[in-house]
């Protein structure tokens, strides 16, 4: 299996990989553009009441009837398995929240947990989160430029953007709620995906001969480098996805949300470091050398002209 993967022409077949990813990204972006992203409490503000360990088995309708009349209409009720319910309402005052809690615990005989976030705070969380993602991208570009070359950073950025759009796109397609935890997961994916990419780039740097650039030789060398690290990529991805999958299966609420984003993101990251970052690097290198040659050419013609 791994041997078969090692025989792939990673750089030469870039059009295949890009088309594959392109279709995926396009579907994701269209779904996002259609407004299918489901922003959660963290970003919009509102209140959420979670009943656990309910002793009374009642239907959703009965629970709705039990809620205070003025919020009955706006409440979204969701059943959580056998003995739990999730009730969401727009932002309510502390007094109203208290009434809702009492109503729920009375009707269900359950333990009620509640979260309430003001809309202005939701906005602040959103801005902070976007700021954190932007800052990470910037620092990562800087770091790779410093340790490698600017075009390595560009190639890594292409892979990162790919991973983020794929992850967010899947969220839009599946309709899963986007929360603060999702953003944290995306940031983690950034770190992880860069790690994957760096492992490949480190090989490429190590294998790059001292002599000047030659397209065929460079591309073959990139292929060779990937072949050398692909086993590691597969093993690492498996050994990371094992605990993440355990988190998805056994974890509740926050943990499952987090694990879902990581599952998608890490898989995308492993794919992109090999099938996106490396071909993009090879293409950028070709483009860079063409430009350098053209500049040299121009210089020579201007010299002969004078």
């Amino acid at each position: 299996m791994i041997a078969r993967i090692q025989n792939i022409d990673f750089v030469g077949k870039w059009k295949t990989w890009f088309t594959f990813s392109g279709i995926f990204l396009a579907v994701g972006l269209v779904t996002i553009a259609l407004g299918n992203l489901n922003f959660g409490l963290d970003f919009q503000g509102g209140s959420q009441f979670t009943a656990t360990n309910a002793q009374n088995q009642i239907s959703e309708g009965e629970l709705r009837e039990a809620l205070p009349p003025d919020i009955r209409q706006d409440a979204q009720i969701q059943s959580l398995g056998q003995n739990g319910f999730d009730v969401r309402t727009p932002v309510v005052s502390e007094g109203e929240a208290s009434d809702i809690r009492d109503a729920m615990s009375g009707a269900l005989e359950a333990e009620i947990s509640a979260t309430s976030i003001s809309p202005s705070f939701g906005e602040q969380i959103r801005n902070d989160a976007l700021g954190a993602v932007a800052a990470s991208l910037l620092v990562i570009i800087l770091f790779i430029t410093l340790r490698y070359e600017f075009i390595f950073a560009l190639a890594a950025m292409a892979a990162l953007t790919h991973d983020i759009v794929v992850t967010v796109g899947i969220y839009a397609i599946v309709g899963r709620e986007v929360s603060l935890v999702t953003v944290v997961a995306v940031l983690t994916i950034l770190g992880y995906s860069v790690y994957d990419t760096i492992i490949v780039f480190d090989r490429i740097r190590e294998n790059t001969p001292e002599v000047g650039y030659n397209r065929r030789r460079f591309n073959e060398m990139v292929n060779q480098s990937i072949r050398q690290v692909v086993r590691r990529s597969i093993y690492t991805t498996i050994s990371t996805l094992i605990p993440v999958t355990a988190l998805l299966i056994f974890g509740v609420s926050t943990l499952a949300d987090f694990a879902f984003a990581l599952l998608v993101g890490i898989a995308a990251g492993a794919y992109s470091s090999i099938f996106i970052a490396s071909p993009v690097l090879a293409l950028l290198k070709t483009w860079q050398s063409k430009r350098a040659k053209a500049a040299e050419e121009r210089e020579r013609t201007s010299e002969t002209a004078s």
């Binding site: 656990t52 360990n53 502390e94 929240a97 208290s98 809690r101 333990e111 009620i112 947990s113 509640a114 979260t115 309430s116 003001s118 202005s120 705070f121 969380i125 902070d128 989160a129 700021g131 954190a132 800052a135 990470s136 620092v139 990562i140 770091f143 340790r147 603060l180 935890v181 953003v183 944290v184 940031l187 983690t188 770190g191 992880y192 860069v194 790690y195 994957d196 760096i198 492992i199 480190d202 690290v229 086993r231 590691r232 093993y235 690492t236 050994s239 990371t240 094992i242 605990p243 993440v244 355990a246 988190l247 056994f250 974890g251 509740v252 609420s253 926050t254 943990l255 694990a259 990581l262």
Partner: protein
């Protein structure tokens, strides 16, 4: 033999560290109390607040620090164990109260500004309202009327309101008061506040004034009674006691009052103030006013069983993930896998020891960070082992292969871990409190993984691959076929 001795020293140090970790986790206290659990695992109330000024001005860090001191006093007076109050940025405060289940009470007590003022009442006007919503309309009507009153002067006086729920009559009695713009006395005159019952058993809050406050109050009450006398209507002078812009009590002052005691009560109710309201009032008056107003950003109540469920599910996930990863390592790396699995075990114990030693509060996102760090630790081994195997395929002896594998693999691991650390730091700096636990544990895990996955496994392998023990390629999961093909390639 020198390198063997170094390796043995490193392993000896690891054993010492393991012993220290085991002591911290298991012996210093019962193991169930070793790890500090966060609110989301233990259950409790979390309130996040932002300081603001009525006039829209900036809230300074110092003001926020003072506000947090007051909040701390108030939370302490709730009689809860180990509350945690932290300042976030310049103007935010985060209050964690384990074990509490009533957010309403917490918010009433800790978020209330409790700015206390005393005014001489100039004019009043009253009207009945049917319910809370109508009361708002009635306030607007009263405000219009009072603005037209001859006693109202823009800039010199202001209009305040008080509400009374009278059980005798249906609805709410809304009273509008014209008082001067500047208070005659402030809460600074207050020495203490305690619950009290009057002769008919009504509950109220008695405020004891300081010596100077008592003098001020004597002067103020004398002035009020004399002004009333001068206007030809004795026994009509009123004192407005105003808490957070709301008139809580407006007793008639017919003569100068000395002794420095003032009582806030509700005369219309035979029980006086409701018990919970009186207790809250007592606390906020005792602890003094907040220097800034507080807006509640978010509140969270987590029930104890939900917290316990979360903890159990997180631990199950971590244990299952950990076990499966160990099996995977053994399956693909054989003898090397044993070393990696051992290192992973050491990593787990040391990380737990660190969490207890620092101490880091364990939260749900924190558990996620730990689970993820398993991947980071294992990856460092995978990168190095693949290198080692590559060298073995090239025909190197196991000992040389191990040395080369570590030398070449280390650089990539260092770069890779640096990026993970960068994201962890950014997360810590920019994101809110809920996710900080994740960033902290991820960073701790990555740092520790450099020790266990690189230094410790190297020492272990160094000992194993020394002359006393021959490591065959097959024991590392390298097949003869792959060696042959690799050597063909070289030729």
């Amino acid at each position: 033999m020198n390198s063997l001795r170094n390796n043995l020293i490193i392993l000896g140090l690891v054993v010492v560290l393991l012993g220290a970790a085991a002591y911290l986790i298991f012996l210093r206290q019962p193991v169930s109390e070793a790890t500090q659990l966060g609110l989301d695992l233990e259950g409790g109330v979390r309130v996040q607040m932002e300081g603001f000024r009525e006039d829209g001005g900036e809230v300074t860090t110092e003001e926020m620090e003072r506000a947090i001191e007051v909040i701390r006093d108030r939370v302490d007076s709730l009689g809860v164990t180990e509350p945690e109050i932290r300042q976030q940025g310049a103007d935010q405060a985060l209050v964690d109260i384990p074990g509490l289940t009533d957010t309403e009470q917490a918010v009433e007590v800790i978020g209330r500004t409790a700015q206390l003022y005393f005014y001489e009442v100039v004019t009043i006007d009253q009207e009945q309202a049917a319910g809370p919503e109508e009361a708002e309309e009635v306030r607007e009507e009263l405000r219009e009327d009072l603005r037209g009153d001859s006693d109202f002067e823009e800039g010199e006086t202001q209009i305040l309101f008080g509400e009374q729920r009278d059980p005798g009559i249906e609805g709410i009695l809304v009273t509008g008061y014209i008082v001067s713009e500047e208070p005659d006395m402030t809460g600074e005159a207050l020495n203490n506040a305690i619950l009290t019952r009057d002769e008919t058993g009504r509950l109220g809050v008695q405020m004891d004034l300081t010596n100077q406050g008592g003098q001020q109050f004597l002067d103020l009450s004398r002035e009020i009674s004399q002004n009333a006398l001068a206007s030809g209507q004795p026994d009509s002078g009123q004192l407005a006691i105003v808490l957070d812009e709301e008139v809580v009590s407006a007793p008639v002052v017919s003569q100068p009052i000395s002794g420095g005691q003032v009582i806030i009560e509700n005369r219309s109710n035979p029980q006086g103030l409701p018990q919970d309201e009186a207790e809250e009032l007592e606390v906020v008056l005792q602890t003094g006013a907040l220097p800034v107003n507080m807006e509640i950003l978010s509140t969270q109540t987590i029930g104890p069983t939900l917290g316990a469920d979360s903890l159990r599910s997180g631990l199950t996930a971590a244990a299952v993930g950990f076990g499966l990863v160990l099996l995977f390592l053994l399956f693909i790396y054989r003898a090397l896998g044993v070393v990696a699995a051992l290192a992973l075990g050491i990593y787990a114990v040391l990380l737990w020891g660190l969490v207890v030693a620092i101490p880091v509060t364990m939260t749900l996102p924190g558990i996620a960070g730990i689970v993820l760090s398993i991947g980071v630790v294992v990856d460092a081994n995978i990168v190095i082992f693949e290198r080692v195997k590559e060298e073995v395929r090239k025909g190197k002896t196991p000992r040389t292969a191990v040395r080369l594998g570590y030398e070449k693999g280390f650089r990539a691991i260092l770069d890779g871990n640096a990026t993970t650390l960068i994201t962890a730091f950014i997360l810590f700096a920019l994101a809110s409190a809920q996710v900080r636990g994740f960033a902290v544990l991820l960073a701790l895990g990555v740092g520790l993984s450099m020790l266990t996955a690189v230094v410790v496994t190297r020492a272990l392998l160094g000992v194993v691959a020394s002359r006393n023990f021959q490591l065959s390629p097959a024991m590392m999961g390298v097949s003869k076929k792959s060696i042959a093909s690799a050597q063909r390639e070289v030729k």
